[in-house]
Symmetry: C2
Subunit: 241 residues, 2 copies
């Protein structure tokens, strides 16, 4: 999930992939690109892993090649975040064109989606959702967060908390308790988590960390939230009178 | 959703059906059958509406016909709740056999599922989930609640609250706040709600009521829960220090 509030951007992903219940693995789904002070970008992927890894390889190869040939356009040297979304969309489209038919002939799903959040110097913090067809939408004040992958369990708390004026601190707490709910209810989502935070106009990562299963701060948030929910539930008015 | 706790059974359904976003209607999904003091049964349906209405018609016709011919077996005169589940499963199977192929030829989904909760005199409170194939499972102490239809948004709070020892009062509150979360996050779920409660060994409905959109008690639960969540959220420890 990714959140855009007035104070900046917060991105959180898990690391569990599955090709059926009996085929579970751990893969990073969050990838960061940074020229500190100039731009910071997080990509988060869901859906067909071969497709999203392919997209990432195309983007990374362009960055590597641009070291020798500055004419090559990359997500780190292109003029705007909007152009970043286009470049990711084009790479998505190329991968879908190459593999979609053969993947579907095997009875598998080729769909994938990618969240892009970031800011470049002189621009605003942006959050995009790129679909399988390479088209994309941008988060707005009306809808300041996106979720991809298993999103339903964790959506109610984001619906209640996230507004443009929500503080960065509260946005981080909200994505953590949202993920905590999803972790409890769905085995296809699993620790560790990857968290990134880009403070507005810093154009750099304030936080870029992996939260392991034994992370004390996450355990504290999880336990505090459980206790708060239980206390809140106990304070509800009686209905059977 | 339906909950079986030590103190009895709680069932809650919404009333919104849809055949696409632009084709929304209101239909009762919860049906009650009662011989007060002898047995009380709630059925709740989801999935293809023509299938579940067909099942209900078969069950109701048998009850009507049995008034003249007591030899006819119905869910109100059969010996056990287990047999009730079999009878519902047989009606489901007959409807699927009659319509499934033609429904699927039209590109529509024929799947349906039915929750059955109830108690007959001399038996225990039972909760069953009947699938499209007519087979069924029963709720146990390990899994004391079932949800059908749009279940994900409202599952985390049930996962946290519902245990066999949960009071009937708390079970009612839990299904109401669970539904409240689902109502907020998904347009395919809508008011009014149908709530039934069967207290253990009463073999009768303690509560059998429709909760309309302007119901003050539900509004109070909804607002109290919002306030409790916000207060709980505000009490979480800081993570960005």
């Amino acid at each position: 999930m990714a959140v855009r509030v007035d104070q900046g951007l917060v991105m959180l992903s898990d690391t569990r992939t599955n090709a059926g219940m009996d085929n579970i693995a751990r893969f990073r789904k969050s990838f960061t690109y940074e020229v500190p002070g100039e731009r910071a970008i997080t990509l988060m992927c869901s859906g067909n892993l071969s497709i999203t890894q392919g997209v990432k390889t195309v983007l990374s190869r362009a960055i590597k090649d641009s070291a020798h040939d500055p004419e090559i356009e990359t997500i780190l040297n292109c003029p705007t975040m909007h152009r970043v979304a286009q470049i990711v969309g084009e790479a998505m489209c190329a991968m879908q064109n190459r593999y979609r038919n053969t993947i579907e002939m095997q009875g598998a799903a080729a769909d994938a989606s990618i969240l892009i959040s970031g800011q470049r110097k002189g621009g605003k913090p942006r959050l995009y959702l790129v679909y399988s067809a390479g088209n994309f939408i941008e988060a707005t004040a009306d809808t300041p967060f996106f979720q991809i992958g298993e999103h339903k369990y964790g959506k109610p708390i984001l619906d209640r908390i996230i507004r443009p004026e929500t503080s960065l601190e509260d946005a981080v707490k909200a994505v953590l308790v949202s993920m905590d709910s999803t972790l409890r209810s769905n085995l296809s989502v699993g620790m560790p988590l990857d968290l990134t935070v880009i403070e507005r106009d810093s154009c750099a990562f304030g936080i870029r960390t992996r939260i392991e299963a034994d992370n004390e701060q996450f355990a504290m948030i999880s336990q505090s939230w459980s206790a708060a929910l239980r206390k809140g539930f106990e304070s509800l008015p009686n209905v059977l009178d």
